[in-house]
């Protein structure tokens, strides 16, 4: 069911949810860029539709809404634990098609790979997704190659149309709120791209043998192991646990988990010394193959959704998509040995 809505009407629909939900969307952080006098578009809580940035790609993904960067699991004393309370409200998350596919990857890890993650589950069950249409491709996007340029699992879709919005609605609860406010009912297909300037080719013949290729060596020096590519990625899910106590002699503290990066030192360190993948090229290989090889072996679909944020953010201009496009040559190199 499709609608045309004025900006005010759409905002009224959103406001009708705010008793029970927070709105989470890409927004402009003025002067919030890492360089002076630059802004940053990334996710944050918004109060109204005017704060939502529709015409840019966010530097970071939506995942922080479901997987907070830092999440308290429980509070403890020496012999008791008390689980942290969930947020009081659910969330309505605005996101693009690639990210909505990214959600499936998060679900795969947090709901299916081993036992369910209770913290993810309790947030996930209280989230509604609003698909933001893509009238055009952004820099570094390669969603078409990854088959993630269209998505269907949304409550509503939204596309900017003149001063208002076009909405496709798949949810009765949303339809009830939209219908009385709509300017018109019409067929709406969320805008999506059918080609990107960047394409990737993941060879069908890819095997783990490619790990021994020389293509990874150049990243030993080029990569600075900062982890930005992981932190902006909508499908990177790793975390590390931390225990802390509130006072020096206190018996009270918390256990929390925070995002971790397979590119950053310490990711594989075991107690008593010892670590794996000391070279940055090895870390790059581990990450790239996870995104476009072994996750698929395990789950049937590639982890990477082609949003290109890793390329957008890399301070060393390392292109993930370009590294994927070297895999074909790399396979020829290793199978020729």
């Amino acid at each position: 069911m499709g609608f045309k809505l004025s900006r005010e009407a759409f905002d009224a629909v959103l406001q009708s949810w705010t008793d029970d939900y927070v709105l989470f969307a890409p927004k402009r952080f003025e002067q919030g860029g890492i360089y002076s006098d630059t802004d940053c578009i990334r996710y944050g809580q918004v109060q109204a539709v005017d704060e939502i940035v529709f015409d840019s790609k966010s530097l970071y993904s939506f995942k922080e809404a479901l997987l907070p960067v830092s999440e308290t699991l429980f509070f403890f004393t020496e012999e008791t634990v008390k689980e942290a309370d969930p947020p009081k409200k659910g969330a309505i998350i605005f996101l693009r098609s690639c990210d909505l596919h990214g959600l499936k990857r998060l679900d795969e890890i947090y709901l299916r790979n081993g036992p369910e993650d209770a913290y993810y589950r309790r947030l996930r069950d209280r989230v509604q997704f609003v698909l933001m249409g893509c009238p055009h491709s952004f820099e570094n996007c390669f969603c078409v190659s990854m088959g993630t340029n269209q998505a269907t699992d949304y409550a509503i879709s939204v596309d900017v149309e003149g001063d208002g919005f076009l909405v496709d609605c798949k949810s009765e609860a949303w339809a009830e709120r939209i219908t009385p406010r709509a300017e018109a009912e019409l067929d709406v297909t969320p805008r999506h791209v059918t080609e990107n300037a960047v394409t990737v080719n993941i060879p069908e013949t890819l095997t783990i043998q490619v790990a021994s290729s020389r293509i990874w060596d150049e990243y030993d020096n080029r990569c600075i192991d900062c982890g930005r590519c992981n932190f902006v990625c909508p499908t990177c899910t790793c975390f590390t646990m931390q225990d802390l106590f509130y006072t020096e002699n206190g018996r009270v503290g918390e256990r929390r988990r925070i995002w971790a990066s397979c590119m950053v030192d310490g990711f594989t360190d075991v107690a008593g010394g010892g670590s794996y993948r000391k070279k940055n090229g090895e870390r790059m290989r581990f990450k790239v193959l996870h995104k476009v090889y072994d996750f698929k072996v395990r789950t049937g679909s590639h982890m990477c959704v082609g949003c290109g944020r890793c390329d957008d953010v890399c301070p060393e201009y390392i292109s993930f998509s370009n590294s994927v496009n070297k895999l074909d040559q790399a396979m020829k190199e290793v199978s020729g040995r």
Binding site: Q31, I34, S36, Y60, P68, V69, S70, R228
Partner: protein
């Protein structure tokens, strides 16, 4: 030939070693200009000069080999540059009204450089508007960050950009990139406390390395821009020395006010019998004592609460 050298110097021409020949000096506040002005400079050099241009040590241009009698024509051709770069002028078409206060120089700043904490050229131009024309010999320079590529500590007034890093603990991933870089490239103002960086505000110089190196934007820049003001650095014959910190976490308005106040102070205390009537500010401060200078400099200045004033100041340097 009858030339008033005092007048031509004030008009930004120079007495050169070649009898009968002068050189025209073009000021470019902040060292940044539209490329089209280079064509104007080329035209002057080729029509009236010897066809060469010197890029000066103060980010201006000097066109040598101009016969003294061509100064009026050169001034006419300089008009688009003077207007285009928004230089204060008393009468259109008469060239530069003063040369004592030197071109205000700046590193490339945040128009290009990732480290810069502000638009150095824009700030330089605002200072230019406030202080020029003036015959007193002031040297003012601006640099984007504590790297001090502009070498502002060799100036009477050195302005160094700072940002006050803002930390959002909920975004921190405990990678310690900020702590590492602060220790290796800056002043070790960060240490890990319970998995997260703790900033020593006293030590922090506001360079922004933590912001640049944080992979998850846990550190961001303050919306407010801050500056370090260094004083009375100088080159020269008697006692070359580096400028000392006067104010840390200062603001733009205060800095401009302090500079303007210093003009009043110099007017009052300059040695009128000094050779050429020229005396560097630093030597005047050496003579009157720092406290007297400070009283003048800080008159009606409302520093932000965060600002820290260093006092008294002592300078080192080489004494001949």
């Amino acid at each position: 030939m009858d030339i008033n050298t005092k007048k031509l110097k004030k008009n930004a021409f120079r007495v050169t070693k070649v009898r009968g020949m002068t050189a025209s000096r073009i000021r470019v506040p902040g060292g940044h200009l539209d490329a089209r002005y280079l064509g104007k400079i080329q035209e002057i050099a080729e029509r009236f000069g010897n066809g060469t241009i010197h890029i000066t040590s103060r980010q201006g241009f000097e066109i040598p080999g101009i016969p003294y009698e061509k100064m009026a024509e050169v001034n006419a051709l300089l008009q688009p540059l003077i207007e285009g770069l928004d230089i204060n002028q008393s009468e259109p078409g008469t060239g530069y009204p003063a040369s004592g206060t030197r071109n205000i120089t700046a590193c490339i700043g945040n128009r290009v450089c990732p480290y810069a904490c502000y638009d150095t050229t824009a700030f330089a131009r605002r200072i230019e508007k406030a202080v020029f024309p003036n015959d007193l010999h002031f040297k003012i320079a601006l640099t984007g960050c504590p790297n001090d590529c502009m070498k502002v500590r060799m100036h009477d007034f050195g302005i160094m950009g700072m940002t006050e890093p803002q930390f959002e603990p909920q975004r921190c991933v405990s990678c310690e990139a900020c702590i590492d870089v602060c220790a290796k490239k800056s002043v070790t103002a960060l240490k890990a406390v319970k998995y997260r960086p703790q900033r020593n505000e006293e030590k922090c110089i506001g360079c922004g390395e933590c912001v640049l190196n944080c992979p998850n934007m846990a550190w961001t820049r303050s919306k407010e821009k801050y500056y370090r003001l260094t004083l009375m650095g100088r080159t020269g014959k008697k006692n070359p020395r580096l400028g000392e910190d006067f104010i840390k976490w200062g603001d733009e308005a205060s800095i401009i006010k302090i500079i303007l106040n210093t003009y009043d102070y110099v007017e009052k205390y300059i040695d009128r019998n000094a050779p050429g009537g020229k005396e560097h500010i630093g030597y005047i401060v050496d003579r009157t004592g720092f406290e007297e200078f400070k009283g003048w400099a800080l008159k009606d200045v409302n520093l932000p609460a965060k600002a820290r004033v260093f006092t008294p100041l002592y300078w080192q340097g080489i004494k001949y």
